[in-house]
Amino acid sequence: MIPTPNLDHISSRDYEHVYEPAEDTFLFLDALEKDAEFLRNEIKPCICLEIGSGTGCISTFLGKILGDGTALLICTDINPYASAITIRTGYNNSIQLESINTNLVNGLLPRLYHSIDILCFNPPYVVTTSDDLYSSRSIIEKAWAGGIDGREVIDKMLPLVDGLLSDKGVFYLLLINENKPNEVREIMKNNYHLQSEILLSRLAGREKQMILKFWRDTLLKK
């Protein structure tokens, strides 16, 4: 078993500015752990990318699965506090992370076209009101508020996935039922020929959370 990253360096005051790891985060960790052998022995990643790293918990955990220094782990977040804490979480757990303060993957494409072997995204997925208010949202609200169907940020990310994934690349995405996961899977299949499965799902209160896994249909083995 791979221990959950140590987060003792993060104070309750920090959590006023950064998304605190919750059930969704832990489901993500469990999904990666479930796939640990596959990631280590079949994907053998060189470059990994996490969008919206928050505390950096997920990428640190991925680093633990793969072993520090065996792959480049890049994290982005739109929240500068998150980018700063991400580095510290890696450091405190002896995992070197690269943290970039940016919107989704701005600044990394087209340079990293078809280069990402493992892509992770635990997005703002909560169903909220219209996206008109997006710019007025506080930084901590942006961590979870997903607009209509909770899909506002997710739908901006989906068209970028195909460009990012390497031939053998896999994409892990957390969704809840309200995000219409079947519709997301259809979009990815029809528009980008990406296959998918529900790797893990769990009930968190009344929220049905799941981790979807996507890969290229040219990659016969999953």
């Binding site: 070197q96 940016t102 990394l108």
Partner: protein, 125 residues
Amino acid sequence: MRLVAHNMLQCHVKGCNSNNFPLQLSNVEIEIQETDFNPMFLRNILPKLEWNALVKTALQINITTLPNVLPDTSTDDLDDEFLKMLHRVLLETHIQQGKMICPNCNHVYAIKDGIPNMLLNENET
């Protein structure tokens, strides 16, 4: 931010699509942080680097150890000495503070406490 990450960043200001890489380092503070040598990772990442950009960037911070032409990566006999030198430049050289300037549109991206800020104002995207 290590040089390996700098090698992956380009300007994304609206309309700035050519000659926007590599971002030029300016007024930087460098810190060397030692880390374990992993020749396999270096061999894997080598084909994914933009070598000319790396050489150019290294020169901006007075690192002159990189050869102008990348040794043939298809053969497996990259010697340890070369890989150790590369390890130092790519993975142990951290840019802690400073600026990155787009060679095309001159947009300035700040690096603070090792984190590049690639965010743009709405009118720039």
